[in-house]
């Protein structure tokens, strides 16, 4: 599974064009644009890596790379998918370097929330555990579609996959997540008895 993920390699597949607007966009405007995307990127990185430190580094690397490449950004495109593409490439590169020898340590989240009711907390907890059991490429595609609400074409660009593969992978990933969540539900019931 990891192998196929690595084969994509680090290469921006984004259609890059020297665009006049991007070229003359001032430093400040760029900074502002990047800052506006930051909460989103952090959220996504956190969900993807399931580790605060890694998410932190990933966003930092991503912003740094985006900054250096800012003249290559084609302003016809929305910024976020472009940033997510950069992040995807950094992420799979890191994954490849780590290969399989180093399991990422999962930092347990404490779901402290007064607003949510108990049954929802259980559901959220199940989802969190289930997401951790998915392979990174399944997790990624679910997050891009479900959390980031990207179109399937945009997902294809971000991941460098053909549209057909995006669709079939998304379908398989969601089904897998559903099965895992169903089985954790059963676990809970068994434990309660």
């Amino acid at each position: 599974m990891n192998g196929s993920f690595c084969q994509v390699g680090y290469k921006a597949t984004w259609h890059i064009k020297n665009d006049k607007i991007a070229k003359y966009m001032t430093r400040n405007k760029w900074e502002k644009r990047l800052v506006l995307q930051m909460p989103h990127l952090l959220r996504y990185a956190k969900a993807l890596t399931r580790n605060n430190d890694m998410a932190n580094d990933l966003v930092q690397d991503c912003l740094e790379r985006a900054w250096n490449k800012r003249r290559l950004w084609n302003s016809q495109r929305t910024l976020r998918p472009w940033l997510l593409t950069i992040m995807h490439n950094i992420f799979i590169n890191q994954k490849c370097k780590q290969s399989n020898n180093q399991e990422t340590t999962l930092e347990e989240l404490t779901l402290v929330d007064e607003g949510a009711d108990a049954s929802q907390l259980v559901q959220l907890r199940d989802l969190q555990v289930a997401m951790g059991k998915l392979s990174p490429e399944y997790r990624e595609i679910i997050l891009l579609a479900g959390l980031e609400s990207l179109s399937y074409k945009e997902i294809a660009k971000v991941t460098g996959l053909p549209l057909g593969t995006v669709m079939s992978r998304l379908s398989r990933a969601r089904e897998k997540l559903r099965k895992i969540m169903n089985s954790t539900e059963t676990d809970n019931v068994v434990q309660l008895r």
């Binding site: 800052v35 399937y152 997540l177």
Partner: protein, 256 residues
Amino acid sequence: MKQSDLNVTESDLQAYVDGHLEADRAEQVTQYLEQHPEEAKRIRAYQEQNQLLHTLYEKDDLSLLKRVNENFRKSNSAKRRPLANLAYATAATWLIVGLTVGWGLNEVTSPHQDIVYTLPHTALVAHSVFSPEVRHPVEVTANQEAHLVKWLSKRLNRKLKTPNLNPLGYALVGGRLLPAQNGPAAQFMYENKNGARLTLYIISQSSKNTAFKFFERNDIKVFSWADTNMGFAIVGSISKDQLLRAATHVYNELDI
């Protein structure tokens, strides 16, 4: 995962989950799902996945931002590793994002003495304490304006003046002297015909960071800024646009 009648494909079903289908097509898929309860169950589970994902990660968003911010502060004070230019910029912006979020949560006790961070907060408190006052909203009333300005100028050791907000419908009520973080603060209160009040809060400290800042809590809004030797904040429970207009007005009048 049948692809029978109505030619509903698996891709259609996924797009249905993500809300990417045109209305007509979505209607067809709804019909299809009514006829296929097993499929409907599966699709409902996927929709639920999406909802839960949002709840799970959006909630976590804020705490992560805060932690990133704390991490930065720690690493910044302890071991400063060589950072590229952008890293500085991102770190600083993280700090600002973090602080804003922190304020919103009313949890951050900021170690920063920079008035950019403390000014809006103290101004907001001053406004919320004195603006509801009916009998003693100010210490010195507007009919003694000359005295008021002279007195506060002396205490702040700055040449103050009361901006004229009549064009915006706000008349000066008066002012008072207040304690601020590291010295005195001057507070001027304005009121319009409907009794809505604005607070202009001035301190004698300045900041290198001269940008206009906006801050809001419980419907009370603050615009703050600093110049070379003073810090200003204007506070009120009016719309952001109106407050900005007042802030711009004050800024232009005080820009001597």
